[in-house]
Homo-oligomer: 140 residues x 2
């Protein structure tokens, strides 16, 4: 059974970010849109929501998959994921841009391969999927 990864799913944790920026829905929308460009991907739709009393979620639907961000301004924390497929996009560049844009003091990035089996009729690509996620301590 051969495994073909469809892409890379980056799980990014941003710490020590600017609380003001993390609570600014307009800034977050523009920053996520820009991160899609930095990551050489194509934005198709962008949805967002501002929570009460604080916090923002933005979801970018990309031609190459998606970017999500959920913010906790009270903790200076944002949970991000950038999932891109194909040969062109570079999700690490999008992650690096986001870490800079939110003035993050520190961050961690886990990179998960995603994929499907290309030979063999069914069944999970066990070797591939059970592989440990690759941790990249610095992206910028």
């Amino acid at each position: 059974m051969t495994v073909t990864p469809v892409g890379t799913h980056c799980i990014l944790e941003l710490f020590g970010c600017s609380p003001e920026l993390l609570n600014d829905e307009a800034f977050i929308r523009e920053t996520v849109a820009q991160s899609s460009r930095e990551g050489m991907s194509t934005l198709i739709q962008l949805s967002s929501h501002k929570f009460s009393p604080q916090g923002v979620t933005a979801l970018a639907l990309l031609a190459e998959s998606h970017i999500s961000i959920h913010t906790w301004p009270e903790n200076g924390y944002a949970a991000v994921d950038v999932f891109t497929c194909g040969e062109t996009a570079n999700p690490q560049l999008a992650c690096a841009y986001l870490a800079r844009a939110f003035d993050s003091d520190s961050h961690t990035l886990r990179m998960l391969p995603r994929g499907f089996t290309t030979q063999g009729s069914h069944g999970p690509s066990t070797t591939h999927l059970h592989e440990e996620s690759k941790l990249c301590p610095a992206v910028n």
Copy 2:
């Protein structure tokens, strides 16, 4: 430094799904909406896009974070993630529902804790974030 997970990020791979269902945008929108209910979460916005010649992406913005699905009908494969925070939602139930809804022959589920530091001014919650993802081979 104490770590408080904000929630759980489920990375779900669905194999051997119905190609017809994976290419049906209306079905996918309804299924994702229902999965948010199954997972005891609250849907705020739902965006989707049908690709040419095939494949669908749907993104659900939840009060508790998000659900995403990207489909490859030609491979019977769907890449899903369900991220929920808070005490009420149960992302595993949403994953189990999605696996059933797409007639998946097999699937894998990785569960990643997400979180921020609640003591200590800055810095990543290293112990927590470098923890191996927990693999749950069956969700339904």
